[in-house]
């Protein structure tokens, strides 16, 4: 059952990822990205990491995609829907970046890390309760530091947004 589900989620993730790239309407691209994120969250559940899966859906598919949609709606992208192929520097940069990603993927597959056996059975380590136990005892200090990080990000992002307003 689990291999079937894995291939189902993987197929959904890849198919919607491709749709995200080739679709002309930026809003639909964003919605396909949400579908990809949901499929990846399904893969996390299969890997016994339900907390990561929930975080993935709540933060990425929820909040960050809202920001993406806002940016799409803020920019006037109507001309983008009749898409011209980007030329010049953006094109060269995108070719280099995707080349680097492809090289990384090939190196990873050749290194043999992908062939390591999966750990079977119910792992306790990924459960939300176990994460809470570790987070609030052993990793207490990093957890409290996280709040300072979040504080700096809230102030920084709001200041940047305010600069753009004026």
């Amino acid at each position: 059952m689990i291999p079937i589900l894995f291939f189902f989620f993987a197929a959904v993730a890849i198919a919607s990822g491709i749709m995200m790239i080739v679709h002309r309407n930026p809003i639909y691209c964003a919605l396909f990205l949400i579908l990809t994120l949901f499929a990846v969250a399904g893969l996390y559940v299969l890997l016994n990491a339900p907390f990561i899966a929930a975080v993935h859906i709540i933060v990425y598919a929820g909040a960050i995609m809202v920001l993406f949609l806002f940016v799409i709606m803020l920019l006037d992208l109507k001309s983008e829907t009749s898409r011209q192929r980007p030329g010049g520097l953006p094109r060269i940069l995108s070719i280099i970046m995707s080349g680097v990603l492809l090289a990384e993927l090939v190196l990873f597959l050749r290194s043999g890390t992908a062939n390591l056996p999966l750990v079977e059975g119910d792992l306790i380590i990924g459960s939300t309760k176990e994460i809470g136990n570790l987070l609030f005892t052993e990793y207490l200090f990093p957890f409290e530091i996280t709040s300072v990080l979040l504080l700096s990000s809230i102030i920084g992002s709001v200041i940047l947004a305010r600069l753009k307003l004026k």
């Binding site: 907390f51 909040a63 809202v66 920001l67 806002f70 119910d122 939300t128 609030f136």
Partner: protein, 143 residues
């Protein structure tokens, strides 16, 4: 533990099937006579003006940014709620410190007026002389 997610999976499958089935049935049964008025955006009986793709007020973006930060904070509350009974007062104090530090951020944003909503100037009501029928004719000709 994986078994608990079978419920979610079944829910997902039936939710998807429900939508597809209903859209499929309506696709089979519907009569298709497109008309410019029929395919225009539904605005609760009002005639739509302009397109649905408008530029949002950037104020929404600031609120969304603040929302994102506090959502990450909420994420940390889930494991906290699960271990709260075991750890007791200790966990409570920890989380209060965490929330307090983030509240400083909210206070900053609030005090600096980033959450203030600058209301758009009220636009004078359009002339009522332009009757519904006239408008409808022009809209139909435009599209």
């Amino acid at each position: 533990m994986l078994f608990n997610f079978a419920t979610a999976l079944v829910f997902l499958i039936f939710g998807g099937l429900f939508v597809l089935l209903n859209l499929g049935i309506s696709r089979i049964l519907q009569a298709r006579n497109p008309h410019p008025v029929k395919i225009s955006t539904y605005e609760c009986g009002e005639l739509p003006e302009g397109e649905s793709w408008i530029q949002f007020n950037i104020r929404f973006y600031v609120v969304a940014l603040v929302f994102l930060i506090f959502e990450v904070e909420i994420i940390f509350l889930f494991p906290w709620a699960l271990v709260f009974k075991d750890l007791g007062l200790f966990a409570f104090v920890e989380m209060m410190i965490f929330v307090f530090i983030l509240l400083v951020g909210l206070a900053y944003v609030w005090a600096k007026g980033d959450l203030d909503w600058d209301k758009p100037q009220s636009v004078p009501a359009p002339e009522l002389s332009q009757s519904y029928e006239q408008k409808e004719v022009t809209e139909t000709v435009d599209s």
